[in-house]
Symmetry: C2
Subunit: 339 residues, 2 copies
């Protein structure tokens, strides 16, 4: 295999200097059209590919490398986000380096430091539940390194982000249950300090209030882990009450699957005796029987958009961009009381 072509190879072929070649390739304006064309042609012929490493060293910045930090790569939602980022990155000739914080804000900081010292061009991050803006992200601004938050955001700071409209998603979900005739609608929320939990809970309350229903505190329970196990456990607590709920809106599909298990074990029929609505539209939702009504979360599109935002910030060197993705309710079987 022939060695990769370098600037000097092109220069020699044309009897010009590397400087000129560099200028031509980087589309600078202080160069004649003729020379530029000639360089471009030879570059193409020799299949020249710029050496990322050399550029990086010279610029003291990794060339075209984007860093992605996620709480969990094997969590369905985040893996779709990653997929979205990667597809856009590939199109734009970016390399993607990935780190997993495991919901540990200290590890998250470590990863960020590594990425920065490597000189990544930008960072796309879905913060852990516990990450404080000041501790983990404030210095990114000073370092002038473009970054975009994903999923979880810090509204009090003027930063770029992509997220889903948790509030309206939850509102629609609960409203839908009300329309279907459910009366005692419970909610399994995620524990505090996680914006997606509080937003969804807010939507839940508002939907009840707007329909003139009372919002009972005992019908709201909190899950730390947002897992199937928690869903099961909290459902069993609901059903040990004197007046159990006739529907449950859960903060994630995973939690909903725990509701299903409890219901199945105790011969509670979904949806006639218990309505269930989840959140995420993960693979689970169409695999559960009956199929789960849930709120769609567009992970892949969020990832793509996050990359686009990074790209624009880098180009324009000033704007910040925000997008809140509409959360659409996907009505399936688990909420069809009148089925």
């Amino acid at each position: 295999m022939a060695k990769d072509a370098r600037l000097i190879d092109i220069a020699n072929a044309l009897n010009i200097s590397v400087t000129t070649v560099s200028r031509a390739l980087n589309d600078k304006d202080d160069i004649s059209q003729k020379t530029k064309a000639a360089v471009l042609e030879v570059a193409d012929m020799l299949d020249y590919k710029p050496n990322r490493l050399a550029i990086s060293l010279r610029k003291k910045k990794a060339f075209n490398v984007i860093g992605v930090v996620l709480p969990n790569v094997d969590h369905y939602f985040f893996s779709t986000v990653l997929k979205g980022v990667m597809s856009k990155a590939h199109l734009n000739n970016y390399l993607v380096i990935v780190g997993e914080s495991s919901q540990d804000d200290l590890k998250e900081k470590e990863i960020l430091d590594e990425f920065i010292s490597y000189g990544v061009s930008g960072i796309l991050i879905a913060p852990t539940k516990h990450s404080s803006f000041e501790a983990n992200f404030a210095y990114l601004k000073q370092k002038r390194i473009p970054y975009v938050f994903m999923d979880r955001t810090y509204d009090e700071h003027d930063t770029s982000y992509v997220r889903s409209d948790d509030y309206h998603g939850a509102y629609q979900a609960v409203n839908h249950l009300i329309e279907k005739g459910y009366q005692r609608i419970a909610h399994i929320k995620s524990s505090d300090g996680w914006s997606i939990g509080t937003e969804r809970a807010k939507g839940y309350r508002q939907a009840l209030t707007d329909s003139g229903l009372t919002c009972y505190d005992e019908l709201i329970k909190s899950s730390d882990t947002a897992t199937k196990e928690d869903g099961y456990q909290l459902t069993s607590e609901f059903f040990s009450m004197d007046a159990p709920p006739d529907a449950i809106f859960t903060v994630t599909d995973d939690v909903a699957s725990g509701v299903y298990e409890y219901a199945h074990q105790h011969q509670i029929d979904i949806p006639s005796q218990l309505g269930v609505v989840g959140f995420s539209n993960s693979v689970l939702s169409s695999i559960l029987i009956p199929k789960l009504t849930t709120v769609e979360q567009l992970g892949e599109q969020m990832g793509e958009t996050a990359f686009d935002y990074f790209f624009q910030i880098r180009k324009d060197k000033r704007h910040s961009f925000q997008k809140t993705f509409e959360s659409k309710l996907i009505v399936r079987e688990s909420s069809q009381r009148d089925k």
Copy 2:
């Protein structure tokens, strides 16, 4: 924030040359213990971190960067593999760059070329269904870049790999169904050219033969996509036969979920009328009702081991390592006829 310390800063502090500092830091032997100790101390004081970019350029190799190529990052199994790789990489101060081939062998080659031209230290790859060793991987050997196959392997070449024991896993699965008293056991395999499909099918056949059962061709159907939809479709074909099967062993859990849906729609009870066993032990398997008996695939451990192998190859510069992970059958409810 102070600028990062460089070799020359340490050198100046001690009135020695950068060469000596470099030697000390790289633990070469042609240096006095005293000097080395002094250098190490100052380096520590200045919080010296080697500049990856500079090392990379000089060595013409990205310093401590491992490339991972996967068919799909949002597929559960592969995302656990990635998780495993990342945890080991982080421990060893490696950066992980990831590419997604989307089961497209051309794109896979593109990604590999990118990674190589970036000079990654090594490559961990789960090949697409269609990747030919010659076309996509043979040149890695020439380039002397360490690589480890994951999941899918090329047995005719002496390469390092980690994979799961598909044959024995399938054998156990079918044998278990036989022991539970199922007689007409069908198999939904994955289409040809994908080793995991053929190995699992082989295990299926052998288990039947060893138990003195006949292996009917009409009880084996092939899925191109290994999805729920295919599972549903092929199950409906089985049940339009004069003598439908009383159990189905599927090549993945996803496919099994399609079997579930068909069964549920047609009031076929699992497991009393139809036994089902899947493969992967994905999140699905414990969420399906009844819980799915399946064969465990240790994605995370495979990822960790793949990284370890890469690490050793790099150090020893010679060996190749292979590991086939025992595939353990996880018995749940979907195969318990006598429940």
